[in-house]
């Protein structure tokens, strides 16, 4: 599988502030890479560098084997960049907005009309072609942004917070649109704070904090890595405190904490067979009402792997 985006020791400084520090990243063709991290972690800076808008202080960033800075002109037709804001143009209607950017990608004549119509159809914006861009809702504007970057059929989409501030319906519609784009074979790099949606959309993720990449790889692996010791949720009919004290004595158990009506039982690292827990409780005469393994998702993995440090 060919590598589409590659950064080697990518570093960006703003004066004394280190926004990115030795970022090493590889994204393969067709991947949907979710870029997550706290505010100010360096996500937007990375995306802006890849979009040729910023020059790295040192290190190298490559898009489709072209080096950012030296071969930016070759990179620009290959990428579609959606920033975390909507670049509005006053007094332009939707069709003019798209035609404007089509012309910027040197798409002219009858071909331009056809492409604009196709993109409007794909993003379900056809009925809004005469609407003033300024008057569109936030969700519509985001759709229009996506429509804009599809005009020149780029290989790589760089999306910075595309679902930020969207209402639930618009967010779901945006997710479906991105899934469709992924099916079309686009390589997508997306930064977002809405982790469940990234989990649904992306096959790989990267976690960045204070400009440093903590982890990058398939999201299933990150969950495994974050898992550490398994956590069980246990509910008994009577006397949960006594049940907790009983379990705490078991050498396979790290800790037991009461939590909102149930017991949160943390197993020691490496312990994967927890059949002893119900046996012990039932054997001691406790009436077991519920036993389940705590689900480890991207959100919990993120919380476990990051320290909440902001620059």
């Amino acid at each position: 599988m060919s590598v589409v985006i590659k950064t080697v020791n990518l570093t960006k400084r703003y004066g004394t502030l280190v926004a990115l520090s030795n970022l090493n990243l590889e994204i393969n063709a067709g991947d949907c890479f979710g870029f997550i991290g706290p505010n100010g972690a360096g996500k937007s800076t990375t995306i802006k560098i890849l979009a040729t808008l910023l020059q790295p202080t040192w290190g190298e960033a490559r898009v489709c084997d072209y080096v950012v800075g030296y071969q930016s002109r070759q990179i620009r037709p290959l990428i579609g960049f959606v920033p975390d804001y909507f670049g509005a143009y006053e007094d332009m209607v939707v069709q003019e907005y798209l035609e404007f950017f089509a012309a910027a990608y040197n798409i002219n004549g009858a071909n331009r009309n056809k492409i604009v119509n196709d993109v409007l159809e794909l993003t379900d914006l056809g009925y809004k072609r005469d609407a003033l861009v300024d008057g569109l809702s936030r969700g519509m504007k985001q759709r229009l942004s996506i429509a804009r970057v599809l005009l020149h059929d780029p290989k790589v989409l760089l999306l910075d917070e595309p679902a930020g501030n969207l209402d639930p319906r618009a967010r779901i519609e945006m997710r479906e649109l991105l899934k469709e784009l992924r099916r079309m074979g686009k390589t997508i790099m997306i930064s977002s704070h809405i982790l469940p949606e990234l989990q649904d959309l992306c096959n790989t993720v990267g976690i960045i904090e204070q400009g440093e990449l903590i982890y990058a790889g398939p999201w299933a692996d990150i969950v495994k890595r974050a898992r550490g010791g398994m956590v069980l949720h246990v509910t008994v009919a009577d006397n949960p405190a006594a049940a907790g004290a009983l379990l705490a004595q078991n050498p396979g158990i790290e800790s037991v904490n009461p939590n909102n009506g149930f017991l949160e039982v943390s197993l020691k690292e490496g312990v994967t067979d927890y059949s002893f827990v119900p046996q012990q409780l039932v054997g001691a005469g406790f009436k077991l009402m519920m036993l389940r393994e705590e689900e480890v998702n991207l959100e919990t993995a993120f919380m476990r792997l990051t320290k909440g440090m902001v620059q």
Partner: protein, 702 residues
């Protein structure tokens, strides 16, 4: 009672908005620099004035010292007022809009602060800076007291006029923001309005028509504009003979009543009182309607535009075709089609064309004289009698030896029989001389009579003067418009984030800048055509007169139609590229607009001053025309009204017409040379901007 005192205490001294600015404003480094710059400039003006007085103070009499002091006061006062007029819009334009921009406006409205506290707090906090600037200038003015010759009351008036100007500017800014007529970018419209208002009224003030006749038959030194024009009102306080206002009792009885009597006899006090009252009138509705207007979703501007059917207020319209260069398309179409810009353009074009038509009409038509001779109907050759029309005079007898003289404007009288005069209407100059009336004679006998062509409504000299004034104002407005459009072109894209979208496309810096320039030129070309059309009207009229065999003297030399378009376009391109340069370097639109307008004004005024001085210099003779041609406004003057400013170099008074031809040739050749030189300068600036574009933009990226 205590409640009222508490209200006023909270309204001003304890107003949190005002206190915040007063407490922190003095500490800001930017404000310190502006204050130092302002003061440094005034001190520079003083030093320059003292040096240019060209005398040694040791050898001066007290009277001479007083004259130098008066001159110093005059110069400094003009500059002070000019600077206040320039700086006040900058500081007051953001009174409310800055709160809106930083999204603190809604928070303020949600607090228990009253409307009056918010409006007055915002207004006074903005004016605080201008007032401190004025106060910092007091020591400079006190220098005049060392030499004498300037009354303290005159200094007080000078400051009061400047302060009143600042207050009314602030009140207008506040009303614009509260009534949602414009945005922070309205600052530019301020400048446009101030320029046209100040220059236009100053020009109109030179017409006798606006100076009412006094009881003794002379014209008043003050006009209908003196009391509402800052510079004309300021001129009154200098105690110059030509501008001392008339006494109330000298005014005709219908103008002696209040407030007209006050207006004409003391325009400086009227100006101060009127502007402060106007400020109050403008601020009052803002106080009353602040919260109500904040709740309204529609702006006053869009409401007015909808009522005028300029926009429908729709959220949609038919798409227009986008050019293959999208940057040029956007610059030309979206700017020009924006409702406000459309109105501005139409108003400008209509005002320019109507102004030129009216001037041309006034020049081409004549006054109906009191008494006139209409040939051949007036003269009855069979009976040797002459009928003069207009006053019901009885026909007079004209013996064959009656002296009939003819006088053309600017020429000596010459003997000319009635038979030699072409058919037409002539005015009778003065009183005809009658022979002593023999007793019993029923008809007067004319001994001599002088006839002259009818007076035009506007004389040729006045027509040139007004045409020059008109196209100079138009040119200045065009420069302001293009400078503003260019200065905001990149910063606005930076502010709304659309620049990043463009930079991520394959558009190159050369393509981007060229597109911007092309769009700006398309946007401004219809405006630039207005002064050229004005000149064309007069040239066509002169050509018509030439074709119909009338004697004529060119109002404007026709070669100006070959030189001025090039000059205007290249100077406009210079302003555009300079504005873009500043737009690239500055982060904020207001800063970019301010600095570019300042530079363009500085360059044009500087070049104009140098140009006029060089042309005026007797030692240089016609060489002065060569150098003068390199200053755009001087070149315009040399082409449109050389009689008014370069009479000697053109040799209009000399009997040898070849000197006029030489001067015209010199201006023609070096006018084009100047255009070529400016074109090269613009090209060099363009190349440098293309080269440094990426570097400049990336430096600002965050």
């Amino acid at each position: 009672m205590l409640g009222v005192a508490d209200y006023f205490w909270r309204l001003l001294p304890a107003n949190p908005i005002l206190r915040r600015v007063v407490e922190t404003g003095g500490k800001r480094r930017r404000d310190l620099f502006i204050r130092c710059g302002y003061l440094g400039f005034l001190i520079g003006v003083v030093i320059f004035s003292l040096i240019s007085s060209n005398s040694s103070f040791g050898s001066m009499s007290l009277d001479q010292l007083a004259k130098v002091s008066a001159q110093l006061f005059r110069t400094t006062s003009y500059w002070q007022l000019g600077l206040v007029a320039f700086l006040a819009p900058v500081f007051t334009a953001g009174a409310i809009t800055q709160e809106k921009d930083s999204q603190t406006y809604d928070i303020l409205l949600a607090t228990p602060l009253t409307n009056a506290q918010i409006v007055l707090g915002s207004l006074l906090s903005r004016l605080f800076f201008v007032v401190t600037l004025l106060i910092s200038g007091i020591p400079v003015f006190s220098i005049t007291q060392v030499f004498g010759g300037v009354a303290i009351s005159a200094i007080a008036y000078s400051f009061a006029i400047a302060a009143a100007t600042a207050f009314v500017t602030g009140a207008i800014a506040m009303a614009i923001a509260v009534f949602k007529v414009g945005t922070r970018r309205t600052i530019f419209s301020f400048y446009l309005f101030i320029t046209v208002y100040v220059a236009g009224l100053w020009m109109l003030d030179t017409l006798d028509y606006f100076h009412p006749a006094l009881a003794d038959g002379t014209r008043s030194t003050t006009s209908w504009f003196t009391g509402i024009h800052p510079f004309l009102a300021l001129r009154v306080i200098f105690n110059e003979k030509a501008h001392i206002p008339p006494d109330v009792l000298a005014l005709p009885s219908n103008l002696q009543r209040w407030p007209l009597g006050w207006y004409f006899s003391s325009p400086q006090t009227f100006y101060v009182a009127f502007m402060f009252t106007l400020s109050f009138v403008l601020v009052s509705p803002s106080i009353v309607f602040l919260r109500r207007l904040a709740q309204s979703s529609n702006t006053l501007r869009s409401w007015v535009l909808q009522k005028l059917r300029i926009t429908k207020g729709d959220k949609s319209r038919k798409p227009r075709a986008v050019w293959s260069n999208p940057i040029a398309w956007r610059e030309a179409k979206t700017k020009a089609s924006a409702a406000r810009a459309s109105i501005l353009r139409y108003v400008f074009i209509a005002a320019g064309v109507i102004g030129a038509l009216v001037l041309c009409w006034m020049y081409s038509t004549t006054y109906e004289p009191d008494r006139y001779v209409l040939l051949p109907d007036s003269y009855d050759a069979d009976n040797n009698t002459l009928t003069m029309f207009g006053r019901n005079d009885l026909p007079a007898r004209m013996p064959r030896d009656t002296m009939v003289q003819y006088k053309e404007p600017g020429q000596e009288k010459r003997d000319m029989g009635l038979a030699s005069l072409a058919r037409g209407k002539y005015q009778v100059v003065g009183q005809p001389a009658y022979e002593p009336n023999p007793r019993g004679a029923r008809v007067n006998t004319i001994a001599s009579i002088t006839l002259a062509p009818l007076d035009r409504r506007v004389s040729a000299d006045d027509a040139r003067k007004f045409l020059l004034g008109m196209i100079a104002i138009e040119f200045a407005v065009i420069l302001l418009i293009v400078t503003n459009a260019a200065a905001s072109t990149v910063t606005r894209e930076k502010e709304d984030g659309s620049l990043d979208l463009l930079l991520a496309t394959p558009i190159t810096s050369r393509y981007y800048i060229w597109g911007k320039l092309r769009g700006l030129v398309s946007f401004v070309l219809p405006l630039a055509a207005v002064p050229i059309a004005s000149i064309l009207m007069f040239v066509l009229y002169d050509l018509y007169r030439a074709a119909s065999g009338q004697s004529f003297d060119w109002i404007v030399f026709p070669e100006s139609l070959l030189i001025l378009p090039g000059t205007i376009v290249v100077v406009v391109a210079f302003a555009a590229i300079l504005g873009m340069q500043m737009s690239l370097r500055c982060r904020r639109t207001v800063m970019a607009v301010m600095s570019s307008v300042g530079i363009v004004l500085g360059v044009c005024v500087g070049l104009a001053l140098c140009g006029y001085n060089v042309v005026d210099s007797r030692g240089l003779g016609q060489v002065g025309l060569v150098f003068g041609s390199f200053s755009p406004f001087t070149l315009m003057t040399l082409l449109v009204n050389p009689r008014g400013y370069a009479n000697e170099q053109f040799g209009f008074n000399a009997s040898d017409p070849s000197s006029v031809a030489t001067a015209r040739m010199l201006v023609f050749v070096f006018g084009w040379a100047a255009t070529g030189a400016y074109t090269m300068l613009v090209w060099a600036m363009y190349k440098s901007m293309v080269k440094n574009f990426d570097m400049t933009i990336r430096k600002q990226s965050r």
